[in-house]
Symmetry: C2
């Protein structure tokens, strides 16, 4: 993927490569983390979770927070996503580490959805 | 994004980072190209196009083909996407070059959808 491709956007479409690396803020304007990846439903092609990285340094001790896609609102002025979450809520949220042998299960997905009071995909 | 994150998948969810780099084949089993990016609808979060690279060498002369998401079927055995397209059809399809100053417009989108007989997003 070349940087040139990432310029491709419009008011209604956005490139996945462009979403990845976008900052996530809370309502107070504090930066919570960065979108690292998007989990898509294989069948419908719909984005279900944004995987946000949080903390750590150069990947060491970094944690991934899956956030239900519906919790993210894009803020044009900020150039990032805004979620209605404080840092405390995030600290006890379901996460997994970079080095964890993590496998996504319906149980884990339901836990995430419930934690954020989001309509469940599962 | 670390390679570790890309292992996160399940039978129903797939990471965008995992889709990117996946091969695209035609029904005859010929490799047509590689998925470089996914264009998502900002509002619904739904994948609308897969941007497939085709031809070129080290990015020189490479062309991007946006394929309506509905034209791609994932083939577990092949480990890639299969589309019902021959190379000829692809050669005259709407494309843009890596170095083009390309901006996605509804007109361009409609042209792509029409070319592949796909239900239009626009």
């Amino acid at each position: 993927m070349t940087p040139e491709t990432t310029k491709i956007t419009s008011s209604s479409l956005i490139a996945a490569e462009r979403v990845e690396g976008t900052s996530v803020y809370n309502l107070a304007g504090e930066k919570l983390g960065t979108v690292e990846d998007i989990m898509l439903d294989k069948v419908s092609g719909k984005a279900i979770y944004a995987v946000m990285s949080f903390g750590g340094f150069l990947g060491i001790g970094e944690k991934y927070h899956p956030l239900p896609w519906s919790t993210l609102k894009y803020d044009e002025a900020k150039g990032g996503y805004v979620v209605n979450l404080d840092k405390k809520k995030l600290e006890s949220a379901p996460t997994y580490g970079v080095d964890d042998d993590f496998h996504w299960t319906p149980e884990y997905g339901r836990r995430v959805d419930k934690y954020y009071d989001a309509p469940t995909f599962w």
